[in-house]
């Protein structure tokens, strides 16, 4: 074979066509990246931001909440309080399975309305069994049903969290007050943490969240309930934008029966410590060594 002019022309034509088709295919991607702020692209990890950078990041997110959702929001970076480690306990004897906690979470944490997301999943369990394989999260009948009890499951804020170990980019970590948080601006969306979590506590933003402007909760935390971007992980933070200011988490306030107990594990006078000392508490999947800070108990 020799390179005749005709042959060369054909090749040039083919190569040009190929290049054009390639350019056409990636055009939307190029357009999208052109829209993206360079600062946004280059933004460092949360823990590397100084106060100026942090203020910039916050104002950018507040702006985009207005721009994209039509909502005036205030985002704060509430830091942990020294001497506080949060713990949560749940009384299975008095939980009636009404899902008000899951619903409150949905509202409080600016969850996607389309998927009706919530960090809490309530299982209807068969009496005499703590086997989730016999439980059911999809029940839809008056509660409490006979011979059933109800087990809400959310992030257990493990002391030894598998999700943190596996994250390749340190986008998720354990804060000094025990809350496992996600830097939504750093997560690459590989979902390894979702595979690692034994409690189905992590959620992925499969779409850009949809929330009507009037339903957006404007009281937002940078590491908690601010509206998440598409393609990143999210999880329960014990409502740290509330709890780090001394307030109770939204799921607890919504609980009509008082099945939920929240407080500072380091304060011997706290309600949570009373529960740990006086109730026969257990944790989920203790055998995995995750050391949850979320406890369950039955009234004896």
């Amino acid at each position: 074979m020799t390179n005749t002019p005709r042959r060369t022309h054909l090749k040039v034509l083919g190569a040009s066509l190929g290049a054009a088709a390639f350019a056409k295919t990636v055009a939307p991607l190029v357009e999208w990246s052109a829209d993206m702020d360079l600062d946004e692209f280059m933004q460092r990890h949360y823990r590397e931001l100084d106060s100026n950078a942090l203020a910039d990041v916050i104002s950018r997110h507040e702006f985009s909440a207005r721009d994209e959702y039509g909502a005036d929001v205030t985002i704060r970076d509430v830091r942990p309080t020294p001497g506080v480690v949060f713990g949560y306990a749940l009384n299975l004897s008095i939980c009636i399975g009404c899902r008000k906690c899951a619903e409150a979470c949905h509202q409080e944490n600016n969850h996607d309305r389309r998927s009706h997301q919530s960090y809490i999943r309530v299982f209807e369990m068969s009496a005499g069994s703590i086997d989730f394989h016999r439980g059911n999260a999809g029940y839809d009948h008056p509660v409490p049903a006979p011979d059933k009890y109800y087990m809400p499951v959310q992030c257990q804020q493990c002391e030894n969290p598998p999700c943190v170990s596996v994250c390749p980019v340190e986008a998720t970590w354990s804060e000094p007050d025990g809350i496992v948080v996600v830097d939504y601006d750093w997560c690459i969306g590989c979902r390894y943490c979702e595979a690692a979590c034994p409690y189905h506590a992590r959620r992925f933003n499969w779409h850009k969240p949809e929330i009507p402007a009037d339903e957006v909760n404007p009281n937002q935390g940078l590491l908690s309930n601010r509206i998440r971007p598409q393609g990143v992980m999210e999880k329960c933070t014990f409502c740290l934008h509330r709890t780090r200011q001394g307030q109770l988490p939204a799921c607890l306030e919504a609980c009509p029966t008082g099945a939920r107990v929240f407080g500072n594990l380091l304060d011997p006078e706290s309600d949570i410590r009373w529960v740990l000392a006086n109730k026969r508490v257990f944790v989920l999947k203790e055998e995995l060594g995750t050391r949850p800070r979320f406890f369950y108990f039955f009234d004896v």
Binding site: T25, P168, V169, A195, H200, P229, T290
Partner: protein, 436 residues
């Protein structure tokens, strides 16, 4: 043979020129070659288009969910890391056992490694929700959770393996082209490292799953050995087939020796793979209980859901038939049987350690819910796109290798090399360059 004394800068420049010419060679070929490359390029673009759609509109367009959060992308990643590692089954005989015939074709294994790793990395990228943040995982630029995260190990071993094999392919082709013997100090250490490294890439990939205590289906010590065994099935099987394609459609000449060696390897690894599978099945089903629910779902279905059941039994049938065929056939007499066996083994392992490994890790979920996963058209488009990219790279590699091996004369004539310049004026080349 001449011991050439390359001056470093000049050598580097010549080497880069050589690589540029290699790329140019891939734009030369017959009608069939261009048709094949055209098809691959088109499929690749279709996949790229699907990937763009997925990235902009959200991963919700795939069939994955919070219950089954990894799907066919990670399944292919797992398979391809195995294929990449399997290439080492040519390297070991060629370099450690000095199998000369194998040595002649060992580049096929190294190019397989390169193409497979590129595909693996492709499958990692398309599985990311935020591929624009890929730089976060680059050591030095982002934050690298090493040594805790097995995914960072995977990044290291995969990119390291890619570099090692690129170096080996490039250097061996270059010396071959020059007709000088490759200098052992420049490549033998890399060959030895690559052998260990091949094992490591697949071990690390297995550890990625095996380390998750919340997923009992994966949390088994036999996972890494199974990965290695099946890798040593797919690698040789793939090369047995491609060597014959190269032999048939190019001017490259090759005896049956490498095919015989690879077939002997397959006879062992196929059995080993089945044995490890049997060990796994025994533990799962004799013990029973919650830890076996994933396996239960995979092999028999659970609660009326059994999307994977036909697949996994097909895989087992394929693997058994392949084992049988390859054991009762010889390269000289029943090559076609061996070829059928290789195809079946490739397909069988693809199912077994692709979808058959990833999906049951998520079904039932950690809280016992059974949500099924069946990949949708978008995911298949992305998948075929990446496979097309890999085959494109592999074909380009074969094209260059054949051009170089078939004769530097013609290679040089077409691309107007001044070979004497390339070896710094100290040319003393043998006619066929049979120096290795």
């Amino acid at each position: 043979m001449d011991a050439t004394h390359h001056r470093p800068t000049r050598s580097a420049r010549n080497y880069l020129r050589f690589l540029a010419h290699c790329v140019a060679v891939t734009f030369d070929g017959g009608v069939a070659y261009f048709a094949w490359m055209g098809v691959l390029f088109t499929v690749m673009l279709i996949g790229l288009d699907a990937f763009v759609t997925q990235t902009l509109g959200g991963m919700g367009q795939t069939a994955m969910s919070d219950h089954v959060s990894w799907g066919i992308y990670i399944a292919n990643l797992t398979y391809l890391v195995g294929l990449a590692a399997g290439g080492v089954m040519m390297v070991i005989p060629a370099y450690l056992y000095r199998d000369h015939e194998m040595h002649k074709v060992v580049l096929a294994g190294e190019f397989l490694a390169v193409a497979s790793i590129v595909m693996s990395l492709g499958f990692v990228v398309v599985d990311l929700g935020r591929p624009d943040r890929f730089w976060h995982i680059i050591p030095g630029l982002g934050r690298f959770n090493w040594p805790m995260s097995m995914l960072t190990w995977d990044v290291i071993v995969l990119s390291g393996y890619l570099l090692i094999n690129l170096h080996l392919c490039g250097y061996l082709l270059y010396t071959r082209h020059l007709g000088v013997p490759p200098r052992p100090v420049v490549y033998v250490p890399f060959v030895l490292v690559s052998i260990v490294w091949a094992i490591s890439i697949h071990t690390v990939t297995a550890f990625l799953y095996a380390g998750l205590g919340g997923r009992p289906f994966w949390n088994t010590a036999v996972l890494a050995p199974r990965f290695i065994a099946s890798a040593f099935v797919t690698g040789p099987a793939f090369i047995v087939l491609t060597l014959q394609v190269v032999r048939r459609y190019t001017v490259f000449e090759m005896g049956d020796g490498p095919l015989r060696t690879l077939t002997s390897i397959l006879r062992i690894t196929l059995l080993l793979n089945l044995f490890l599978l049997l060990s796994e099945l025994f533990t799962e089903f004799y013990t029973g209980g919650h830890h076996s629910l994933g396996a239960q779902y995979l092999y028999f279905g659970a609660e009326g859901k059994h999307a994977l059941v036909p697949w996994i039994w097909t895989a087992i049938a394929f693997n058994l038939i392949a084992t049988l065929l390859i054991h009762v056939s010889t390269v000289g007499q029943h090559l076609w049987r061996i070829n059928v066996g290789c195809v079946l083994a490739l397909a069988g392992v693809w199912i077994e350690k692709g979808m058959g490994l990833i999906v049951p890790g998520f079904v039932p979920s950690t809280l016992g819910e059974i949500v099924e996963y069946v990949p949708n058209a978008l995911e298949y488009r992305v998948m075929f796109g990446i496979w097309a990219l890999g085959l494109l790279i592999y074909t380009m590699g074969a094209r260059v290798a054949v051009a170089v091996y078939h004769g530097h004369e013609r290679f040089a004539a077409r691309w107007q090399f001044d070979d004497r310049e390339m070896v710094d004026g100290r040319v003393e080349r043998s006619e066929e360059g049979g120096t290795q």
